[in-house]
Symmetry: C2
Subunit: 111 residues, 2 copies
């Protein structure tokens, strides 16, 4: 598997969980500490920090220690990567529809 493929795997699978999507959405509003981010979720802290680790491993967020807290923030570059992949598929799809249109048009003109 290429490096790029592995990254896409991690990005999509990081986004496949509602807790993680929620945290990411929250972080788009501004940085936050572990316990701030955890507050809305009915989950023990160790379970929650696992989600943060998955997000960080995917590159969607990064963190650093600040005193005894850890501050998280989004890394929007990686979101663009996902958008890029989708964009590409859409282009292929739309090109194909265009070719199909041309084809149907040609058929029409012949008769």
């Amino acid at each position: 598997m290429t490096n790029h493929e592995v990254e896409l795997n991690q990005l999509f699978s990081a986004l496949s969980d509602p807790t993680r999507r929620g945290v990411l959405a929250r972080l788009c509003e501004g940085p936050g500490t572990v316990s701030e981010l955890a507050r809305p979720y009915d989950m023990t802290l160790p379970s929650f920090t696992q989600h943060l680790k998955v997000l960080e491993r995917s590159g969607l967020v990064r963190s650093h220690k600040e005193g005894r807290s850890r501050l998280y923030q989004v890394e929007p570059e990686q979101l663009k990567r996902v958008e890029g992949w989708l964009e590409q598929q859409r282009q292929v799809w739309e090109q194909r529809l265009d070719r199909l249109d041309d084809y149907l048009l040609q058929m029409k003109e012949k008769h």
Copy 2:
């Protein structure tokens, strides 16, 4: 969990596998049968059809029987759904940057 959340889970997790992303990319070029789609992959047919089921469950593709073959094709609506979610996050993110700019500008003006 809301219905919409479950759908996003399924969409993102369907896209988190390179075989499935490959099949989807292939299907953007036009419809194909199970064995056509399977050909590029070094995998038994039952394993491969599992991937097709995941894609279909997510709504990214649909299929129907045609003689003894089954034809698959993309369902671009669901791709848009994923793009929609990403778009939304980006907007929140960009709004926040704008507010931050304003704030920094005001600080500058005060001094």
